[in-house]
Symmetry: C2
Subunit: 393 residues, 2 copies
C-alpha cells in the first residue's frame, strides 16, 4: 500500500516542481513587461488587461475541470508579486528639473513616498525639523512641497513655511483634511491639494492602493501630481474634506478607539491570551488580531489620530448609549427586542451585509489555508496527550 | 512598441495556460491519493507531509529566483482545494453497526456533521422536535447521540431524552459547555463528551478546523469519536468547561455584542455606508466587514449566544468603564495618559502583538490581491471624471 502512495507523492512533487518552473518563467516575462512599460511611460496597473486575463484563465480552468476561483486566487497572488517587482523605474508626469520637497520626509510614510518620486527621476529633498534655517534654499526651486509630519504638528508646520514659488503645489498626507487644507490655502497662493493615502508605509507597490484626494486650489496645475500617483498604480478617490473627515471619524478614529478599549479591557480582565488564541476559530482569531495588531504600532500615532478627531467625543456618547440600550436588553433578557434591534440594523446594511459576509468568509478561508496548527500559539494539548485529563464527575 | 508588449503578453498567457495544466494534473493526482487513503483508512491531513512539501518547494523557489512566500501561499491555496475534493469517503473509527443519532440534525451544523458521519459509513438518524414519540425506537441501538439544537433548548432537550444504551456516547456541540455537560452527566450514565466545533456549517473540509473537547465521563469509550474527528482532519483542543466558557464570553459573546453595538451605532448615525466603503483602506474595509457580516446572519443565533453568556453583563460593565476612562482622556486632551494606557496594554500583549500584526498584514495583502477597484462599492469618481469637481476656495 505505501508503494502506490509513495509513487503518487513523487508525481505530486514533480507537478509542484513544474509549478515553480512556470512561476519563474512568468516572473521573467512580467519583469520584461515592467522594463518596457517604464521605458515607454505606460501605466503599470491596467484594470482591463487584468480583468480579461483572469476571465480567460477562469474559462480554461473550468474546461480543465478545476475550480475557476482557485486559478483566480492564484493569479491575483502572482500579480501582486509582479507589481512589486515591476517597479524598478517609473516615468515622471511632472517637471523633473523642479525639486520635490518632503517636509517630515524622515518618517515612515514620507520615506516610502520619497522612494516613489526618486524612482520616477525626481530630485527629492527631505526637510526635517532641524532644517528651518535652510528652508528658503531647500524650497526655492520646489515644484511640489509635500507635508508629511505628525497630525498634531501639520498646521503649525504649514504656517511656518517660507514663501513658495507661485506654481509650486503645496500638498499634505494627513489623515484629516479640513484643517490642513485651510492652513495650506492660507499659507500659499498657488496650487493646493489634500491627499490621504489609505495605506501604511509597509506596502511594496502602489498598485490598487487608494489615495483620497481633496482638491484645494488650481486643479489644472495639480494635475501632474494626480497623474503621477496614477502611474504608480494608485486608485484616486475624490472627496470633499468635510465628508472625508466625517467618514474617517466614523471608521478610523472610532475603530482604533474601540479596539484600544477592547485591548485594555482584556488586560484588566487579565485574560489568558494564549488560551484565547488556542481556542479561537479563524474569525475570533482575526478579531483578536485586529485588536492585538494595534499594540504593535506607534502609541503616538494612534493617540494623535484619536485626539485629532474633533467629533469623536460626540460619536462615543452615541456609541455608549447604543451599548447601554443593548446591555439593558441582555440584563432584562429581552430577547425579542434584541432581535428587533438586530433586524432594523440588518435593513440598514441591506445588500452590503451579505456581500461583506461573502468577502470576509473567503478571506477567512485564506487565513485558514495559511494556518499551521503546530506553530506557536497553536499547540494542541488534546492530540499530544490523548485526553489524559479527562475528568469523572 | 505595442508589438514587443503584445508578444510578451502572448508568452504570459502561454505561461498561465501551463499553470492551469499543472494544477489540473496535480488535482487528478491528489484525488487518487484521496481514494487510496480512504481505502486504507489513512488520515487525510498529515501535518508532517504538508510541512515537508512546503519546505522543499520554498527551497526550489528560492533557487529559481522567486519569493518562497509566493509558492507557499499558492500551495496552501491548492491544498485547500485538494482537501475538499479528497473527501468522498472516510474510514470509520467506531462501530458502524450502531446508529449515530443527531438531535436537531435538521439545523445547518447538524446537517454538516451528519454528512461526515455518512461518508464514514455510519447509519445516521436525524431526530427533530416532532420525533419525541419515536424517540425510544430511534435511540435504541445508538452508539452516539449528538445534541445539535439551539443553545436555549440544549439542556431541556438533554433532560427529556429517554434512557440511552449504557455504552452510547452522549455528546453536544453547543457553544457553551458547563451547563450542557452537567445536563448530560445527569441524564446519562455512560460516556459523555462536550464538543464545540469552532467553525460554521459552510466549511467543505474539516482539515485543520479546531474542535474544542471537554471530557465529561469515560474517556476510553469516547476515544473512537475523538479519533473519528481526527480522521476527518480536525484539530482537537482539550479544555475544562469553565475555562472554555470564560474564553468564549471574552471573545465570542463580547465581540458579537460590540460588533452589534457598532452596527446599530452606524445606523443611528445614518452613516453613508457606500461612502465609507469607497474611502476605506483594506483594514477599514475589513473592520466594516467584521461588523456588516453579522447582519447577514441569523438574529436568533446571535441573540442566543449573547443571552446564554451569563458573565456578559459583568464583562460589559468592565468594558464600559474602560470606555469611560479612555473617553475622559480624549475629552480632557490627556494625550500622555492615553499613551501610558496604550503602553501598558502593549506590555500585556507582549510578543503576541507583533505576531498578530504580521499575520493580519499578510491577510490584508491577500484581501488587497482580491480587490477589484472597478467593482461595486469601489467606483472611483476621481479617475472617471478626471477631478471635475475640484473647488476653488
Amino acid at each position: 500500500m505505501t508503494s502506490p502512495l509513495a509513487d503518487l507523492r513523487v508525481q505530486i512533487d514533480q507537478a509542484d516542481d513544474d509549478l515553480v518552473a512556470v512561476l519563474a518563467r512568468r516572473a521573467r516575462l512580467t519583469a520584461e513587461v515592467g522594463t518596457l512599460k517604464s521605458r515607454h511611460g505606460l501605466p503599470l496597473y491596467v484594470p482591463e488587461r487584468e480583468a480579461q486575463l483572469l476571465a480567460t484563465r477562469r474559462e480554461k480552468a473550468t474546461a480543465a475541470g478545476i475550480d475557476p476561483d482557485l486559478i483566480e486566487d492564484i493569479l491575483r497572488r502572482v500579480m501582486r508579486e509582479s507589481y512589486s517587482s515591476q517597479e524598478s523605474d517609473f516615468p515622471a508626469a511632472g517637471d523633473r528639473s523642479r525639486a520635490v520637497v518632503i517636509v517630515g520626509g524622515g518618517g515612515a510614510l514620507g520615506r516610502c513616498l520619497a522612494s516613489f518620486f526618486t524612482r520616477s527621476g525626481y530630485h527629492v529633498r527631505i526637510f526635517e525639523k532641524d532644517d528651518w534655517e535652510r528652508a528658503p534654499a531647500l524650497l526655492a526651486d520646489a515644484g511640489l512641497v509635500l507635508v508629511a509630519v505628525p497630525i498634531e504638528h501639520t498646521c503649525a508646520v504649514i504656517a511656518k513655511l517660507p514663501k513658495l514659488p507661485d506654481d509650486c503645489i503645496l500638498a499634505d498626507i494627513t489623515s484629516i483634511k479640513q484643517a490642513p487644507l485651510a492652513a495650506m490655502l492660507s499659507a500659499h497662493r498657488g496650487p493646493v491639494l489634500g491627499l490621504h493615502p489609505m495605506f501604511g508605509p509597509d506596502i511594496r507597490s502602489l498598485a490598487k492602493q487608494v489615495v483620497v484626494v481633496c482638491p484645494g486650489r488650481d486643479p489644472t496645475r495639480c494635475q501632474w501630481l494626480i497623474e503621477q500617483l496614477g502611474i504608480w498604480g494608485a486608485v484616486l478617490r475624490e472627496e470633499l474634506p468635510e465628508r472625508h473627515d466625517r467618514a474617517m471619524e466614523l471608521i478610523q478614529a472610532m475603530r482604533h478607539f474601540t479596539s484600544m478599549v477592547y485591548g485594555i479591557f482584556l488586560q484588566r480582565e487579565n485574560a489568558d491570551l494564549d488560551e484565547l488564541m488556542r481556542l479561537s476559530s479563524p474569525i475570533y482569531r482575526l478579531e483578536l488580531a485586529m485588536v492585538g495588531r494595534l499594540f504593535a504600532q506607534s502609541p503616538q500615532l494612534y493617540a494623535d489620530i484619536i485626539m485629532a478627531a474633533d467629533g469623536l467625543p460626540a460619536l462615543l456618547d452615541q456609541y455608549r448609549s447604543v451599548l447601554d440600550d443593548l446591555l439593558k436588553r441582555v440584563r432584562e433578557k429581552q430577547r425579542d427586542e434584541l432581535i428587533e434591534d438586530f433586524n432594523s440594523a440588518r435593513e440598514y446594511f441591506g445588500e452590503l451585509a451579505p456581500a461583506l459576509l461573502r468577502e470576509s468568509s473567503e478571506l477567512l478561508r485564506k487565513a485558514h489555508d495559511a494556518r499551521d496548527p503546530s506553530a506557536q500559539h497553536e499547540q494542541s494539548r488534546a492530540r499530544d496527550r490523548a485526553l489524559p485529563s479527562a475528568r469523572e464527575s
